[in-house]
């Protein structure tokens, strides 16, 4: 049987992943038409390329349906409880850098720290009768972070895209989102809190702790990791 390697199915993340493996002697490529999610592996036998949405890779690793997968640390930590027991970090790939941060409107000159956010939340709740809303798709990470830092009287509202726009649309007062350059935040008149770095993320090669392997697959895994210079 084969070792299954899950890679993001499109965009820069896929291309950079292909480059990273290619530079180490493992050729990954998409086959068939542009729309077909099939791929080929050169340079090592017994490895199958599985193209998936980056967001699904953590779940597939945890379920043991793929042996290796490339995805962001942010997604693994958000989606997997006790992630360290389900997957192992094999290599940080040096791209896809992004920070999960909390941002508020720049016009809130009184808010720069989490302490300010907590105090502003209390006052906001008194004034408006509901909890200050923070739009995010990283519910678990953000909730744990705010809890650890003693912020109360907020609520998270789900936003799966265009999160920065929620404030202008009056569906949230703050956002917790991934940013690499901060350009989108600035363009939307937001500023990052100075002490609210929830997580630093980058594209990472993970190995599933749950996927079963027979002797042949184990040998393939060893060979692949050694080609990649990651010895076990």
């Amino acid at each position: 049987m084969t070792i299954k390697l899950g890679v993001p199915s499109k965009g820069r993340l896929m291309e950079k992943t292909f480059d990273w493996f290619g530079a180490r002697g493992v050729g990954l490529s998409r086959t068939g038409s542009d729309r077909e999610y099939a791929g080929a592996v050169k340079g090592v036998d017994g490895v199958e390329l599985v193209l998936l949405s980056a967001g699904e890779i953590p779940r597939e690793l945890a379920a043991g349906r793929i042996h290796l997968g490339v995805t962001g640390t942010d997604l693994v930590r958000e989606k997997l409880g006790q992630w360290e027991q389900q997957v192992q970090e094999k290599a940080e790939l040096g791209f896809g850098h992004a920070d999960l941060i909390i941002a508020v409107p720049g016009c809130w000159v009184d808010v720069d720290t989490l302490e300010d956010l907590d105090a502003a939340s209390a006052a906001f709740r008194r004034e408006h009768g509901f909890r200050l809303r923070i739009a995010t798709k990283y519910h678990r990470l953000v909730r744990e972070f705010l809890q650890d830092n003693g912020v109360a009287d907020y609520q998270l509202v789900d936003s799966q895209g265009a999160t920065e726009g929620t404030i202008k649309n009056l569906t949230a007062e703050g956002v917790a989102d991934i940013t690499s350059t901060g350009d989108t935040l600035r363009a939307n008149h937001l500023k990052i809190l100075s002490d609210a770095l929830v997580l630093k993320s980058q594209a990472t090669l993970f190995k599933s702790r749950k996927a079963e392997m027979d002797d042949e697959e184990r040998a393939t895994m060893k060979r692949l990791l050694s080609i990649l210079g990651l010895g076990d």
């Binding site: 409107p105 720049g106 016009c107 000159v109 720069d112 906001f124 003693g150 202008k168």
Partner: protein, 361 residues
Amino acid sequence: MAGKEKIRARAAALTSQFEAAGAVSVETSMLLPAEALLDLYGEDIRGRAYVTSDALRGEQMLRPDFTVPVVQMHMSDGAEPARYTYAGEVFRRQEEDQSRPNEYFQVGYEVFDRNNPAASDAEVFAVMQDALKGVELRAATGDIGILAAAVAGLETTERRKQALARHIWRPRKFKALLDRYSGKSEVPPSRAALLAADDPMLHDFPDIGLRSQAEVAARIEGLRAEAVAEPISALQVELIEALLVVRETLPNALEHIRDLAVDMPAITEATFRLRDRMHALEARGVDVESLEFEASYGRTSMEYYDGFVFGFYVPGRADLPPVATGGRYDALTRVLGQGREIPAVGGVIRPGILVELEDAA
């Protein structure tokens, strides 16, 4: 882990016992509107409860505890005074520890009574203790009301007292605030810069979002007042810290807290309540001489307890959750009662753990 039938039977036996103590048996829904729970507990409840939804009723939560639905039921059509018992499953999301069950039974006993809160506190504790008498357990007690009174009595601004009271249940944050207000920790540089600016409201950003510039200005006014307020004195901080570490048998703790009340007259009323409760417990046959009292007990548990708190633990088994917990939650009835309120105290037993202990005995 014992089978569900066995736990259900044990739960039924506890319910009969609570009925014999005067409680009326009640049922609640398993799906609760998420809004009420979220409003009450905040975002943290999402980490503990399962959320689901449909297009008609919106977000619903799988019952994480009985307190909210029982209080709502009582506030809408309950007679006074009232005693209730209930039994059923509660559901708790588990994201860190797979060995913790995400579904288990609770059997509860709740008292809604305006007369003699000390007697009601003692009643709930004694009824719980009696129901658990077959197994060897360690009881812990505390009283959030004493700490709340100490905070309310601090010689400082109302704003500071409100902030401290709001974070009683977050010990680390509470400590950080106390350090800030007593001048032990520095004001963050960004705040110092803001207050030093000629016009702090000056900025290059458009005004977006629901939080208005008037709200921003009001907070800056508050920060200015905070900056010139006298620090909380070292003596007062010491007294609060001395109170937080009180941990001894109830009679000794009472003595100790009375001594602290000499310098902290604001807690005098609360020490009377502690004394009255001790006598009421004694009258109920509870051995108060060996009953543990911990002034910080209950601070990291559910936010709604605001007076007497208690728990029953298996000695030497820190891995097991408490077999029973409970406390007074007057403020919760105020929040859920929409203008009405009633003093309330109650407790729950986890029959699943009880069966496990009884089987092992």
